[in-house]
C-alpha cells in the first residue's frame, strides 16, 4: 500500500509560541543587507518586506520597522507604467504591485504613491478572456487574477476592470475536485485555491464554489502529524497550512480540520535558537514561513496574535480602517468547539 508522506514531530520540538524570538528574527533580518542569501532574494524583495511587516504587525511590533526607509524604497520601485518592481533595477510585476499596496495600506499611506497609475497598470494587464497577465510578457495565472482584484480592492477601485469576465476566467479553472489550478485544465493546488477563493470573495462570487466538495479536498490535506500539504501525496508545510486553512475559512469550513493538531505542527516548525518558522520541523527558517506560521496560528484563534484576514493576509484592524470586509461563506460558527479545543490544548501543554 501507499506509505503516507509525512513528518514526525520529535518530543522535544517547540510547543509554545516564541513571539519575542520571532519579532527579533524579523527585526534583524533586514539588517543583513550584505548577506549573500539576502542579496539573492532581491528579485522578490517587495514581497519579502510585506511578509516581514505583516507578521510584525500581527505580533504588535510594527513600530520596530523603519517606516520612512520602507516607504522611500516603495516609491523608488514604482515605474512609469504605474506598476511596482520587487527592487530597484528590476521590472514591474503584479506580484510586487500587490505587495507594495499591501505595505502602504499597513502604513496607512497609500497616498504616498500615484494610485491612478497603479490602477491603469492593473487594468492594462487584463486580457480578452478576463484573465490577467503578471506583466507585459504575458504569463497567465489565477495568482495574477487574485493580485489584480486584491490590489484594486485595497485601493477602492475594483470597478476599473471587467469583473464579470475576470470571474468567468477564474471559474473556468475549476476542477473535478472542486479546486482550482493556474490556468484552465491545470491541476488543483492549495496555493491556487487560496488565490481563487480569495478572488471570488473579493468579487462577491463565493456562491459559485462547490464548498462541500472543495472543503472535503482541503480537509484531506491534513496529515497524521497535524500539518497540511498542498496537494495529495505531498509533505506537510507551514505555508500550505496557511493556504489550506485560509481557503477553508473563506468557504466557511475551517472546523473540518483538527485545529489542535495543526497548531502542534505549526509550533514544532519554530526555531528555538534563531526565532522564525521553517517549512517543516528542523529546516531553515525564513520570513515567508514565519508570516504564514503566525497567520495560521491567528486563524486558529491564538489570542496572543492579532486577528488576521484570511483573504488579504493582513491584520483585520487594518482592513477595518479602510472599510474593507470581503465576503466569507457563513456556516456554523463553531465557537463552542474552539473553546473546547483551547481547553484541551492547555491540558496538553501543561503536562
Amino acid at each position: 500500500g501507499t506509505q503516507i508522506k509525512d513528518v514526525v514531530i520529535k518530543p522535544d520540538a517547540p510547543n509554545t509560541l516564541l513571539l519575542d524570538k520571532h519579532a527579533d528574527y524579523i527585526a534583524a533580518y533586514g539588517s543583513k543587507k550584505d548577506d549573500y542569501e539576502y542579496t539573492l532574494s532581491e528579485y522578490l524583495r517587495m514581497s519579502g518586506i510585506y511578509w516581514g511587516l505583516t507578521v510584525m504587525d500581527l505580533m504588535g511590533q510594527l513600530h520596530r520597522m523603519n517606516r520612512e526607509e520602507i516607504i522611500d524604497f516603495i516609491k523608488s520601485c514604482q515605474h512609469d507604467c504605474g506598476g511596482f518592481s520587487a527592487s530597484i533595477g528590476h521590472d514591474p510585476h503584479l506580484l510586487y504591485t500587490l505587495s507594495a499596496v499591501q505595505i502602504l495600506t499597513l502604513y496607512d499611506n497609500v497616498k504616498a504613491i500615484d494610485v491612478d497609475k497603479v490602477v491603469d497598470y492593473v487594468r492594462g494587464l487584463q486580457q480578452e478572456d478576463g484573465s490577467f497577465a503578471g506583466d507585459k510578457w504575458g504569463e497567465i495565472d489565477t495568482r495574477f487574477s487574485f493580485c489584480a482584484v486584491a490590489t484594486l480592492a485595497l485601493l477602492g477601485r475594483l470597478d476599473a476592470v471587467d469583473v464579470d469576465k475576470a470571474v468567468e476566467f477564474v471559474l473556468s479553472c475549476m476542477n473535478f475536485d472542486g479546486g482550482f489550478g493556474c490556468r484552465p485544465g491545470s491541476e488543483s493546488h492549495a496555493g491556487q485555491i487560496y488565490c481563487c477563493t480569495g478572488f471570488l470573495s473579493v468579487t462577491g462570487q463565493l456562491h459559485q464554489v462547490n464548498a462541500d466538495l472543495l472543503g472535503w479536498w482541503l480537509c484531506e490535506r491534513q496529515l497524521p502529524s497535524g500539518g497540511l500539504n498542498g496537494r495529495p501525496e505531498k509533505l506537510p508545510d507551514v505555508c500550505y497550512s496557511w493556504w489550506v486553512l485560509a481557503a477553508l475559512k473563506i468557504i466557511g469550513r475551517i472546523h473540518w480540520i483538527d485545529k489542535a493538531k495543526l497548531r502542534t505542527f505549526i509550533l514544532s516548525c519554530q526555531d528555538e535558537e534563531t526565532g522564525g518558522f521553517a517549512d517543516r520541523p528542523g529546516d531553515m527558517v525564513d520570513p515567508f514561513h514565519t508570516l504564514f506560521g503566525v497567520a495560521g496560528l491567528s486563524l486558529l484563534g491564538d489570542e496572543q496574535i492579532k486577528p488576521v484576514n484570511p483573504v488579504f493576509c493582513m491584520p483585520e484592524d487594518v482592513l477595518q480602517r479602510i472599510g474593507l470586509q470581503p465576503d466569507l461563506l457563513k456556516t456554523v460558527e463553531q465557537t463552542q468547539l474552539i473553546s473546547q479545543y483551547l481547553h484541551l490544548e492547555s491540558v496538553i501543554y501543561s503536562v
Partner: protein, 586 residues
C-alpha cells in the same frame, strides 16, 4: 526556502562558509551590476546573453533577467536571417533545459520555454513533448511540466485520445498519480461527451477547432457518456483494489459518481394574499436584481422591488417581493401570476384561486430526484454491482475510510431512504477511524439526513419538517423548505440558525430545544412566524434576540434554560424589544 535542512556546524566551519559566501556575493554583484548597466545603455548583444545566463543558471527566479533576454532575442530576430534565428532560439531552448535540470519547478524557466517555442520559426513539438515525457518520468507530479505539456498539446494538435492513452500508461505504471487522474477528468468529457452535448469525433484535433480543450469539468456540466463511465468504473476499481489507501483513485471515483449541474430554472413560485407577497425559488443562487426578473399579474407587468431573503446575500436561491396594495388581497378574485426569468428564457406560472389564501407552483425535490445520482435508472444494476465490489473491499479492509465513504455515496445514489440506517452506522465508523475529520463527517451526515427528511416530507405531501435527535451539526438545503410551516429541530448540536434560515418564508412554528444555539441571525423577517421554542440553548445576550424583532407575528417565545434569562431586568427588556410576544417563558 523549501526543504533546506538546518545543519549544526562548528565556529571554524561557519567562518569558512562566511568567507565563501562573501566571495560568491562579490562575483554575483559584479555580474548583476554589469547586466543592469548594459541594459540601462540599451545594449542588446551576445555579451548580455552570456552574463544573464551566468546568473540565471543558479537563480532562475530572477524574472527581470528573463525579460532582458527576451528583449535581446527580439532584437536579434530583426537583424538575423531566419536560419540564424532558428539556431539562436534552439540554443535558448538548450539553455532553458539546463536550467530546468537544476530547478524543474521555476515558473520563470517554464514560461520562457513557452515563449521561445512560440517564437521559433520552425518549432519541434515532438521534441517538446518528449522533454515533457522525460521530465514527468523524473517527477510525475510536476505541475509546471504538466501545464507545459498542455500548451504543447494544444499548439501542436495532439489528438485527445492520444493524451488519454498517455494517462492510461502513467496510471498503469503507478495508480497513485493524482495528476494523471486529474488530466483524465479534463480529457474524458471532450472525448466522450454525455449524449445530448455537442458531438465530437474521437480524434478531433485541437488546432482546427476553436472550442476550448480545457473547459472546466466542474462548471460547464461537461459530463461523460454512460458507456465510457462504465469503463472508468472498472479502471478505478482496479486502482483501489490494488492500493486501497491511495486517495487519488477515490477522489476520481467520487467525481465519476457525481451528478451533472442542475439546470437553471425557477423551481417554485409562491403567492400569499396576506401581505400580498410573492416568493420565488431558483435552482441555484442568483442575483435577481441583475437577472431581468419580471412579474406579470393577470397579464399586467408589475413594478416590484425584489429582495433576497437576507440582506447578507447578494446571490440567493430565494427572492421576495410585495405587490402593490389591493392587487391580490380580495379572496373572491382569481389571479394568475407569471414570473419570467428573461436572461434564461424561462418562466413559471402560479394560479391563485378564489377562496384560497395562498398558492404555489413548484418542482419538488422528489420530482427532480434532486439528491440522487445522475446515472439513468436502468443502470442502477451497475451501481448495485459497484456497491457489491466496495462491500467486498471493506471486508478485506474494514478500517478503510475511503471505502466506507464511497459505500455511503453509492447507497445514496441507489436508495437514500432504504439505506438510511446503514448509512448512519457507516458514518459512525468514519468518525472512529478518521477522528481528525469528524466535523466533516458530522456535517455531511447532517446534510444527508436533511435530504432524507425532505424526501419523506414530500412523499407524505405535508408541510411539516421534523428532524429531532439526529446529531445535526449544520443546516443546509433551506431553500427547499420555502413552503414548510412547522419545523422541529430539537435535540441536535446546532450552534446557529444561519442567515439561510430566513428562506423559510411560510414558517409558523419553530421548535429548536436542546441544541447549543447562540445565534439567531436567520430568524429574519419571517412574516408568519408565531411560536418559537428555544429551550436549553446558549443564547447569552439580549442582542442575540434582536433578529426576532423583525418577525411581526411572533406571540410565543420559550427561552427557558438559556444564559440570557439571567440578565437583569430581562422581562422588561424583552417586552420592549419584542412587544408582540404575549406568551414569554423564561
Amino acid at each position: 526556502m523549501h526543504g533546506r535542512v538546518k545543519v549544526k556546524s562548528t565556529a571554524q566551519q561557519e567562518e569558512e562558509k562566511r568567507k565563501e559566501r562573501e566571495k560568491k556575493l562579490k562575483v554575483y554583484l559584479t555580474v548583476r551590476d554589469a547586466i543592469f548597466k548594459k541594459r540601462g545603455n540599451g545594449e542588446l548583444d551576445d555579451e548580455a546573453l552570456q552574463l544573464t545566463q551566468q546568473l540565471l543558471s543558479s537563480n532562475p527566479d530572477f524574472a527581470t533577467l528573463w525579460n532582458y533576454r527576451r528583449e535581446i532575442l527580439l532584437h536579434l530576430e530583426t537583424i538575423k536571417e531566419e536560419e540564424e534565428t532558428q539556431k539562436l532560439y534552439e540554443a535558448e531552448l538548450l539553455f532553458i533545459e539546463s536550467c530546468l535540470k537544476m530547478n524543474p519547478k521555476s515558473y520563470g524557466s517554464w514560461h520562457h520555454r513557452g515563449w521561445v517555442s512560440s517564437r521559433l520559426p520552425r518549432p519541434d513539438w515532438t521534441r517538446e513533448l518528449s522533454l515533457c515525457d522525460r521530465c514527468l518520468s523524473l517527477d510525475d507530479r510536476n505541475f509546471h511540466c504538466w501545464d507545459y505539456r498542455r500548451l504543447v498539446v494544444k499548439a501542436s494538435g495532439v489528438p485527445v485520445d492520444q493524451e488519454l492513452q498517455f494517462t492510461d500508461r502513467l496510471i498503469g505504471s503507478n495508480f497513485s498519480n493524482y495528476s494523471s487522474w486529474h488530466y483524465r477528468s479534463t480529457l474524458l468529457p471532450l472525448l466522450h461527451p454525455e449524449s445530448g452535448s455537442e458531438p465530437a469525433s474521437p480524434c478531433r484535433k485541437h488546432t482546427n477547432t476553436h472550442t476550448s480543450p480545457t473547459a472546466s469539468p466542474q462548471t460547464h456540466s461537461h459530463r461523460v457518456c454512460e458507456e465510457q463511465l462504465l469503463k472508468e468504473y472498472e479502471l478505478v476499481q482496479n486502482a483501489f483494489f490494488t492500493d486501497p489507501n491511495d486517495q487519488s483513485a477515490w477522489f476520481y471515483y467520487r467525481w465519476l459518481l457525481g451528478r451533472a449541474e442542475r439546470e437553471e430554472l425557477i423551481s417554485c413560485v409562491y403567492a400569499s394574499r396576506e401581505g400580498e407577497r410573492v416568493a420565488v425559488a431558483f435552482s441555484k443562487p442568483v442575483n435577481a436584481l441583475a437577472e431581468g426578473l419580471m412579474l406579470v399579474l393577470d397579464g399586467q407587468q408589475q413594478q416590484v422591488e425584489w429582495r433576497s431573503a437576507h440582506p447578507r446575500f447578494r446571490h440567493s436561491p430565494v427572492w421576495l417581493c410585495e405587490l402593490p396594495p389591493g392587487s391580490i388581497s380580495d379572496i373572491n378574485n382569481e389571479h394568475n401570476l407569471t414570473v419570467h426569468w428573461t436572461e434564461k428564457h424561462t418562466h413559471r406560472d402560479c394560479a391563485l384561486y378564489t377562496g384560497r389564501l395562498e398558492s404555489w407552483c413548484r418542482d419538488s425535490a422528489t420530482d427532480q430526484e434532486l439528491f440522487r445520482s445522475e446515472l439513468s435508472v436502468e443502470k442502477t444494476s451497475v451501481l448495485q454491482s459497484e456497491l457489491q465490489s466496495c462491500t467486498q473491499l471493506l471486508e478485506l479492509e474494514p478500517q478503510n475510510k475511503w471505502c466506507v465513504l464511497t459505500i455511503i455515496l453509492l447507497m445514496r445514489a441507489l436508495d437514500p431512504l432504504g439505506h438510511e440506517k446503514e448509512t448512519l452506522a457507516h458514518f459512525q465508523t468514519l468518525k472512529e477511524v478518521d477522528p481528525m475529520r469528524s466535523s466533516y463527517y458530522s456535517d455531511l451526515c447532517s446534510k444527508f439526513m436533511i435530504e432524507n427528511t425532505i424526501l419523506k416530507m414530500e412523499y407524505a405531501e405535508v408541510r411539516v419538517f421534523s428532524l429531532s435527535d439526529k446529531n445535526l451539526s449544520t443546516l443546509c438545503h433551506l431553500d427547499q423548505l420555502l413552503l414548510v410551516t412547522h419545523i422541529n429541530l430539537s435535540s441536535n448540536q446546532l450552534v446557529t440558525l444561519p442567515p439561510q434560515f430566513s428562506m423559510l418564508h411560510c414558517l409558523e412554528v419553530l421548535e429548536a430545544d436542546d441544541n447549543v444555539i447562540e445565534n439567531l441571525e436567520g430568524l429574519y423577517h419571517l412574516p408568519k412566524l408565531e411560536e418559537v421554542s428555544l429551550k436549553n440553548n446558549q443564547i447569552s445576550k439580549l442582542s442575540d434576540l434582536e433578529p426576532l424583532a423583525s418577525c411581526p407575528k411572533l406571540t410565543r417565545l420559550d427561552l427557558r434554560g438559556n444564559p440570557v434569562t439571567k440578565t437583569a431586568n430581562i422581562q422588561a427588556e424583552l417586552s420592549q424589544l419584542l412587544p408582540s410576544v404575549t406568551d414569554l417563558l423564561l
